[in-house]
């Protein structure tokens, strides 16, 4: 009986123990279910956040694209600016090239004119070359080359174009624009075309060997198609003032010496032929 009671107690104890374990298991399961619930809630929250993020993404992409467009626009603006700079530089180079080309052409003309002036010692040919240069390179229509008489200091026309040489007056020292140009050695350029009278030249170029004036180139009118003087005309005038002067002076000296040589030779021949007394 006692053993039964003891056995019953043992069984009851074990049952109590089992129930406690079971209760603990229940509690544990309850906790697990709560945790599970929390996790489910967290998942739903995360999914919601994720959905929200997905909704936000197009704006992010748009913003990124906008940034890219802004960057490319800036780069495009920079390139356009650079392109304009290069284009301007190119234009400047083209203008510079044309200027150099023009200067090159002018120098070539000056070279040919100068070469022609010194290619002969014939006085007549030199005067003809000066006339050709003034007519063909400057574009003068009526003009004259006047030379200074060392004794009387008067200017006399030795070659003309568009005017008869005999019609040209003799210019006294310091008389009018022409005489003044010869006296001072300064070139004269009229503001506008004159009336064409002999005392109304539009250009007077003194022919000078260093500071010594030997004559004056006088221009009265220009060709119909020549409206005004250009820079190269002034360079030509400057070249003529020196080169034409030396060419004319040398040719005149040469022809004078030739004449003297012939005279002396004739004189010597005469002496030789004279029978001795």
């Amino acid at each position: 009986m006692d053993s039964n009671r003891e056995g019953f107690k043992n069984i009851k104890g074990k049952a109590e123990e089992f129930l406690q374990i079971f209760r603990k298991g229940e509690e544990f399961t309850q906790e697990l279910l709560k945790d599970n619930e929390k996790l489910r809630f967290k998942i739903v929250q995360l999914e919601e956040e994720h959905r929200q993020q997905q909704k936000d993404d197009p704006e992010g992409v748009l913003k990124s694209l906008e940034d890219k467009v802004a960057y490319l626009s800036e780069e495009n603006r920079h390139l356009m600016e650079r392109y304009r700079e290069v284009e301007l530089e190119n234009k400047n180079f083209a203008e510079k090239y044309l200027e150099v080309e023009q200067e090159n052409n002018n120098l070539a003309n000056l070279y040919v004119a100068s070469y022609q002036l010194h290619s002969t010692l014939d006085f007549g040919e030199v005067l003809k070359t000066v006339l050709e240069i003034i007519m063909n390179l400057v574009g003068a229509e009526r003009f004259a080359i006047m030379l200074l008489d060392e004794k009387t200091r008067e200017l006399t026309a030795v070659a003309t174009e568009g005017i008869a040489a005999e019609d040209m007056p003799v210019i006294g020292p310091g008389s009018g624009k022409i005489g003044e140009s010869a006296r001072t050695g300064e070139a004269f350029f009229a503001e506008s075309q004159g009336g064409g009278g002999f005392d109304q030249p539009i250009v007077c170029i003194p022919l000078k060997i260093k500071e010594h004036v030997i004559g004056v180139i006088v221009i009265y009118t220009l060709l119909v198609q020549k409206k005004n003087f250009t820079n190269v005309d002034y360079e030509l005038f400057s070249m003529l003032a020196g080169h034409a002067a030396t060419a004319i002076f040398s040719a005149r000296l040469y022809s004078q010496s030739e004449r003297k040589l012939v005279t002396i030779q004739s004189f010597l021949d005469l002496i030789k032929d004279k029978p001795s007394a």
Partner: protein, 124 residues
């Protein structure tokens, strides 16, 4: 580009030199000079030219007579001719073109203008 033959007809040696000097800048240029129309005709009959540049006022035979003779000659009438002269009036220009000149340039000539014109006929 092969050789390009020019005939420069001009009585003024200075102008001949100036025109020839400018023409030397055309690639392959060979320049022959003549001092008047008769001299030019002799040279035209001796060799073939690609372009003739002539003055008007010249002794013996002037440029206008030369142009009309070239245009009347079957063998040479196709050669382009440019008149270069001091005669700048419109009437002179019309006369030159009417006789058969291809172009007309008034003196004083601008080298750039001359070369531009020459290149037009050389390229043709």
């Amino acid at each position: 580009m092969s050789e390009v033959k020019f005939l420069v007809v001009e009585d003024s040696p200075t102008m001949r030199q100036l025109i020839s000097f400018a023409l030397k800048r055309v690639h392959g240029a060979k320049i022959i000079e003549a001092s008047d129309g008769i001299d030019a005709l002799k040279k035209i009959s001796a060799e073939k030219f690609d372009l003739i540049l002539t003055d008007i006022n010249m002794p013996i035979m002037d440029g206008l007579k030369l142009v009309s003779l070239i245009r009347g000659d079957d063998q040479h009438k196709e050669i382009p001719i440019i008149i270069i002269t001091t005669e700048g009036a419109e009437e002179d220009r019309r006369k030159g073109i009417a006789l058969g000149a291809n172009a007309y340039l008034s003196k004083p000539i601008q080298t750039a203008e001359l070369l531009k014109l020459v290149n037009q006929y050389v390229k043709k």
